[in-house]
């Protein structure tokens, strides 16, 4: 090591794009900072008061200057806005094909669930060169998933699913911080993202699968909680058919519609009466307090895995 670092490592596809704008802003700041400081020092020396009675010149202003130093910064900030917005747009929209991993934050640890069933705490293994989408939620207060080397950060909010995506460009171990103050051990809520070559990642995946995939754990829970007594694949149950539901548009009582995404499935488990599918009675009991955030994710993943049966009309 040669002295303390002054600039963070850059290890995601987004990092160089953020850095480019950062350096542009740095250039703008240095230019205007030096301009103002230089003028102040120059005027302070050049026009230093020489006699106690001396007065300044009788100047009240100049319209051309006022227009100039209003319009020029306005134009410059619009350029920065458009640049910042375009990079942000890419940050906010993950590619079509992503490797999905579920994240649950809780005081004061990070829990990760891979689709194949691996579970990790404060360590997240991902492959290099592939877009990874994290579907995050919190079990208690607001946390924040922050990997400086990837230039990504997002609050992990209880009661919501927030998606974050990134694509790592080089193997290595990268610091993960909780960046939203979450209580006593906030500064201990740290971890590492371990980025591996795809082959090594496959080997790692093969090495550790414990009790089957996330969806299969969800299927077991679906039975244990007796969800299957009402949600049947044959449209004869008292609840809506869940096969093929994910990603579809659901018509609600009263005619409004909603896309059946992770958040809607989660809400329908915890607060079933909130948005009831048209044609059904609000008879489902709440599972608030009966299932953990991690079990919810298993159920969501199970419902996502249910393919539409060809002969059944989905509602």
């Amino acid at each position: 090591m040669q002295g303390p670092p002054l600039f963070p490592e850059s290890a995601s596809t987004m990092a160089p794009r953020v850095d480019a704008l950062y350096f542009f802003l740095l250039g703008v700041s240095v230019f205007f900072g030096l301009l103002i400081a230089g003028l102040i020092v120059y005027f302070a020396i050049r026009y230093h008061r020489r006699t106690p009675e001396q007065l300044g010149a009788r100047i009240h202003g100049a319209m051309s200057l006022e227009i100039g130093w209003t319009v020029a910064p306005l134009m410059l900030t619009l350029v920065i806005f458009v640049w910042g917005a375009s990079v942000y747009f890419a940050m906010a929209h993950p590619p079509e094909e992503t490797l999905n991993i579920y994240v649950v934050g809780k005081q004061w640890m990070w829990k990760f669930q891979h689709l194949d069933g691996q579970r990790e705490i404060n360590e997240l293994h991902v492959p290099v060169g592939r877009a990874v989408k994290l579907i995050t939620t919190s079990e208690d207060v607001i946390h924040d998933f922050f990997v400086p080397a990837f230039r990504i950060k997002a609050d992990v909010i209880p009661g919501r699913y927030v998606n974050i995506w990134f694509q790592v460009t080089k193997p290595g171990r990268y610091r993960l911080f909780c960046a939203e103050y979450c209580g006593t051990r906030h500064s201990g809520m740290i971890g590492e993202v371990i980025a591996m070559e795809p082959s090594e990642y496959q080997a790692w995946l093969g090495g550790g699968a414990a009790e089957g995939s996330l969806a299969s754990a969800g299927a077991k829970l679906f039975q244990d909680l007796a969800c299957n007594t009402c949600h049947r694949p044959d449209a004869q149950g008292r609840g809506p058919v869940l096969e093929g539901l994910f990603g579809k548009t659901v018509t609600l009582q009263g005619g409004a519609t909603v896309t059946a995404d992770e958040a809607y499935i989660r809400e329908s488990i915890l607060q079933p009466a909130a948005r009831v599918t048209s044609g059904f009675q609000p008879i489902m009991p709440t599972f608030q307090g009966l299932v953990t955030e991690e079990q919810l994710l298993e159920l969501v993943e199970y419902i996502k895995s249910l393919q539409a049966l060809p002969q059944v009309q989905t509602r």
Binding site: V18, H48, G61, T77, I142, R151, Y181
Partner: protein
Amino acid sequence: MATSTVLIPPRHYLNDGYGISSWLLTRDHKRIALLYLAAVTLFFFVGGAMAVLIRIDLATPPGDLVTDETYNKLFTMHGVMMVFFFLIPAIPTVLGNFLVPIMIGAKDLAFPKLNLLSWYIYIVGGLFTLYALVSGGVDTGWTFYTPFSTVASTTNVIPTALGIFVTGFSSILTGLNFIVTIHRMRAPGMTWFRMPLFLWSTYATSLINVLGTPVIAITVLLVAAERIFHFGFFDPRVGGDPVLFQHLFWFYSHPAVYIMVLPAMGVVSELVAAGCRKPVFGYPFVAFASLGIAVLGFLVWGHHMFVAGESVYSALIFSILSFLVAIPSAVKVFNWTATMYKGAVSWETPMLYAYGFIGLFTIGGLTGLFLAAVAVDVHVTDTYFVIAHFHYIMVGGTIMGYLGGLHYWWPKISGRLYNEALAKISAGIIFIGFNLTFFPQFVLGYLGMPRRYHAYPPDFQVLNVLSSAGASILGVGYLIPMAYLMWSLRYGRLAGSNPWGAVGLEWTTTSPPPTENFAETPLVTWEAYDYHAPSETNVA
């Protein structure tokens, strides 16, 4: 500059009555200003002591000076004390109270009794908060984010919230008092565009105080209600939305940033005019920039929530509005700088603070552009970059403006001059100490060090040690003015009515002024900063 025979006036507001009740029951805006001066100074040093402990702890990577709980309480109470009990009230209640009536040629504020009541309300709110501090503290951060503050924290959230709630009424009443006074009590001939720019910025600040403060009052009440009655405003387990709190909180607390910095901008306009002995360049642009900031300041709160699950399009709208609010601030900086052109530029202490303000506020403002650009904000928000940015605005801006104003008007307030050499040295110490404290934090922030971290990775240590060293210099810089200003009260040379050779109604009356401010109501026939007018307004 002083004339040869400077005498203290036989009758002035300081010798108009003695004893504790002549102060605690006074309705004189100047005495109330001094009551506030004592109170905000107390809170400044309480908040500052916590900052010292924080910086000592952060000199080493592990959290080894205090426990995690104590550290979290320290930064929370540092923020609460500094924001609600020093930065928001300091300039309006001390300098504003003293100067608003004098600058418009009035005998007092419109509602003198209400003004005294505001001070008592402020003190009651402050006592609540001090009680919360000594009876165990509070650990939510000064931002009180839910659901942590409503369901998880086990500390004194309610007394602290009550303290903020109560103090808010003091801000509202003072703002109301200033608005009515400026509308109704101007001396004959004192038109809006003859007012010193300090009054324009005080007026803009008062508007924000009156319109914004009720929102924070409601917000902290909702937090207290959810803690006591478990209502589901913010707790998602009972159907609430934790992010709703952030909308309500920042709807006040972003404009509050302008409550803190607009009065300092007003002070700097006065310092620059007097320091250059010429009118402020582009007076109407500087005046309307204050109002522009006050209005746009209400429309940018969402930029605190770019990573808090805000929708993409909301984020983009808040981003562009945040860039727009930077424009009037830039206009002000350019106009102050242009005022120096062909000025009779002073190097006295108040002007040194004005230079410091412009330089540091420029850095604070430019780094604000980084935060308004959403893609960069995502990386640096909630890190030390943000900490550095807002300290450049609030400490580099507001406190530099406050100290500059205090030095500029001290001869008027006290009737005496402080030691100029010591004052220049301490201004230099503050400038150097400030930059050494907060500049390294920009670098730390881009490296990724999150805010509110008690322990941090060892490779961040060098920058943290620099910052802590700067803080110790800054602390010394703040103590020296305390000493020589107190000393000057008794031993300082008499100032005379106009020691700076400045124009403005406050320099036409004696130092200290009489209780009724002017022997007879002035008739204003000149523009603000009219250094070239003949006769009585000119240099003594």
